[in-house]
Symmetry: C2
Subunit: 137 residues, 2 copies
DNA sequence: TTACAAATCGTAATCATTACGATATGATTG
DNA sequence: CAATCATATCGTAATGATTACGATTTGTAA
């Protein structure tokens, strides 16, 4: 998802476009993987000294609800990245730097048959390890 | 995994068999899905009034390291269940009650090719929703 | 430019989890 | 089966991410 697209989604759903929200989304647009709330706060701090936790977390949740961000739990912390809007896929996630790589395979189709009486609301398929860069470091 | 098997694993690795550990494992042996630390503490409390958090969490981590328990994050909390020792598989997990159902399909084999330079340390494939019982409730 | 709902602030509260120094207890050995 | 000692547990305080609140500011639409 692109920065512009994310901002439009906010507008369409009736949420205001503020400088802080733009900058938050800019941060994720420039990232190449999952980032923590703390990462984000460090990015925002120089521009907005003492930015409120309330603002950061409220907007992270908002972006998540609206579908702008997707989340995972890595090293015991929630982490966020811009949702990929192209075709459905999953990710390899580097444990070290959070970088993600797309995986085209999704096994859900063949599985739905096995779960007749179960209502499926979502699924997560993630592969963990080290990206080439973090291996050599 | 059966209760007896879990206790043996502890012994083999040189850890002591205590009444509290047995009861903790009994709790998970009787559960049919994921349970939180809080669930466990409530189960232990009547027998061991004021049982220490230290004891509970230290043993949960120990069981996890040893491979007796597997974990996931559900509703923002770590949850635990006895590791399944039969062939590799994944789970449907009920968001409401934590109950799990085995899923035989695992797509990892066809994926490893796509990740040549990446070192794969693990993967998670989980399906979320409501089990038949929680749907009717 | 006014008006008002929405957003942000500054900070305190929450809540799961972790950690610590003191004490108790399994398991091994003589 | 008593002594020993590493391991386990206790009671409680600390941590750290996240959530929440009343007061204030700011986008946005009329």
């Amino acid at each position: 998802m692109k920065l512009r697209e994310a901002i439009n989604q906010l507008k369409e759903k009736g949420y205001k476009t503020t400088a802080k929200r733009k900058d938050m989304l800019t941060f994720f647009a420039k990232a190449d993987g999952y980032r923590t709330a703390k990462d984000l706060i460090q990015f925002m701090e120089p521009t907005y000294k003492g930015i409120s936790f309330d603002t950061v977390y409220r907007n992270l949740h908002l972006f998540d609800e609206v579908g702008i961000l997707e989340t995972t739990v890595l090293n015991g912390e929630k982490q966020f990245q811009l949702t990929c809007t192209d075709d459905h896929h999953h990710h390899f996630i580097c444990k070290e730097c959070g970088k993600t790589k797309e995986i085209a395979v999704c096994p859900m189709d063949e599985i739905k048959n096995d779960l007749g009486n179960y209502s499926i609301e979502g699924h997560k398929f993630e592969i963990y390890g080290l990206c080439p860069m973090c291996q050599s470091a």
